[in-house]
């Protein structure tokens, strides 16, 4: 297991390398730089040149890339041009928001999705099955930003049950955190709920049709035991795979949800930094997002091991 973990961690290095190289490629492509933002619309050419020299952004991109990697090895992600803090601080203060949102959405999507899927599989071909699957498809077909605004109007204004936006850290007020996170996390989860429900249904059906389940049933084992103890356990592997992929999708989708619900998360930080051309923050933010993604996938791989021992040595 330890060896497996080390190998997985090592394989993360090229992933992060690709992400950072892509970011440099983008920096090289994107016109303009942060000097316009600092200098404002009224800055003179000399002022701009001075700012560029001061920040070192007048150097060629290769040179900047090399010095960035050099600093990275010393654990230094640099300093934001505009936010008045280090990149690490800027990203870390945003991370709780994005992690809350993504994690909660993952929980929603997995629990509701799996339950819907099981229900549909157990009552195969009934009206329940049909309804659940249509609901899953509808979840897949709605643009989440529109759905989010509708939810805000419904639950925030008409019913007045939940706040319309903003973020309360869980460390400050757990109830407040839950209230601010409920709508955004649900909105973010809705698409993936559909994906997971459909996946669960088909892999459950697969298992339910296999001989040993039929045997178990024939031997008089009661419904829920068969379903949760035998069938679900075996159906878990494909479901976990989907959950792993889902995390990546949720991290990407969080960007939109943060915008709709005005949450100060990493996604908005990166969007804002792209618009302001605050490259150290873009670079650092994307790197941290990629780290989260890689970490979750390592966890997913380890979960395979738990549910399906054959997989463990396979990788």
């Amino acid at each position: 297991m330890a060896l497996f973990l080390v190998r997985r961690l090592l394989s993360a290095i090229p992933v992060l390398l690709v992400v950072s190289l892509m970011t440099f490629l983008i920096m090289w492509l994107v016109p303009g730089d942060v000097s316009a933002e600092i200098g404002g619309t009224d800055a003179t050419a000399e002022q701009i040149a001075q700012i560029r020299a001061q920040l070192g952004i007048d150097r060629p991109i290769l040179e900047r890339a090399l010095s960035w990697y050099g600093n990275l090895f010393q654990g230094d992600l640099g300093y934001s041009y505009l936010l008045g803090r280090s990149v690490v601080d800027a990203v870390l203060e945003r991370l709780p928001v994005t992690l809350s949102l993504t994690a909660l959405a993952l929980v929603f999507a997995t629990i509701i999705g799996t339950l819907l899927g099981i229900l549909a599989a157990v009552r195969h071909n009934s009206w329940l099955d049909q309804t659940a699957m249509v609901a899953a498809l509808v979840g897949l077909s709605i643009p989440d930003f529109w759905f989010g605004i509708v939810l805000i109007i419904l639950f925030g204004v008409s019913l007045g049950w939940l706040p319309t936006g903003g973020f309360v850290p869980i460390t400050e007020d757990v109830w407040g955190w839950a209230r601010t996170m409920a709508l955004p996390a649900f909105t973010l989860a809705i698409t993936q709920m559909g994906v997971i429900a459909r996946m669960t249904r088909s892999s459950m059906l697969d298992v339910l049709n296999q001989d040993y389940i039929r045997t178990a049933r024939a031997k008089g084992m009661r419904g829920p035991t068969v379903i949760f103890k035998h069938a679900l356990r075996n159906a878990m592997v494909p479901i976990i795979t989907v959950v792993g992929v889902t995390t990546g999708v949720l991290l990407s989708g969080a960007v939109v949800i943060e915008q709709v619900f005005s949450l100060p998360g990493v996604g908005r930080l990166i969007i804002g930094s792209i618009q302001r051309r605050d490259f150290p923050v873009i670079q650092g933010g994307l790197l941290v997002t990629a780290c989260v993604f890689v970490f979750v996938n390592i966890v997913v791989d380890m979960l395979y091991g738990v549910f399906d021992p054959r997989v463990r040595d396979d990788r």
Binding site: S11, V15, V18, W146, S202, V255, F293
Partner: protein, 303 residues
Amino acid sequence: MTAEIETLPEDGGSLRRQMRKARWRAFGVFLKRLVAHRSFLIGAIILVLFSAVALFADLLAPYAPNRNNYRFILMPPSAEFWFGTDGYGRDILSRVIYGTRVSLFIGVTVVLFTGILGTLLGTLASYVSWLDALIMRGLDGLMAFPGVLLAIALASALGPSEITVIIALTVTFTPRTARVVRAGVLVVKGMQYVEAAQAVGAGHARIIFRYILANALSPLIVQLTFVFAVSIIAEAILSFLGVGPPPPAPSLGNIIADGRTYIQEAWWIAVFPGLAIAFAVLGLNLMGDGLRDIIDPRQRNHR
């Protein structure tokens, strides 16, 4: 599809002929199953309708999609404007009709590029062992790059356009597609008939194209159906972030994005193109499900 070939004659030409025949036979059975499959059929009909609307937009749209009219701003649905009008006084129905064109174009192009790139990379990875690790780690890296942020960065570099959307989506979906192809090829590669073809001295290129790819194709097609569906939704999301197809040309996504500010005052702007998207995505998903059911025999009886 390939189970029919069990005994292999010595003569290569005869083998080929027999395989071709077997393949055609299999294809006929496959088609029959498709048509008999309820959800595939419904999905296919929806997609055909959708494509027809896109194709005949000029004939179907009652007004020019970009005609502004200050006197008819934010009009609710009526006999004159079935889907109402937007903040420019433009007819939503006409814009939705033309918008399907852009959405369809983006979907088809992304499917095409993703299919080509995914197949190329997936096959290379599975066939050339020293490239495998390199390609797969590279693709992992792309997967770890949030697609939405990539689109925003690209839009800053190239300006928002259909092209930007297509590039961003292609980069986002290619890794997963390549994985599907690679997995498919790895399974097929070890099979008897491929080894047999190698034994009779068929070249690498020939083996890849005729035998391996042909058989990894099924999971690829299923995957691409879903890529198609997700592309149509993704175009809307990118429009929301201001990096979708630029004005004034309508896309289903940018109509919704425009209308989101008026959800309470003019619900019709976002709802009708939203329904069109839902319709298309539904159709594609049904088709994908159908294809998967038919191709993957284990699941054949589930629906």
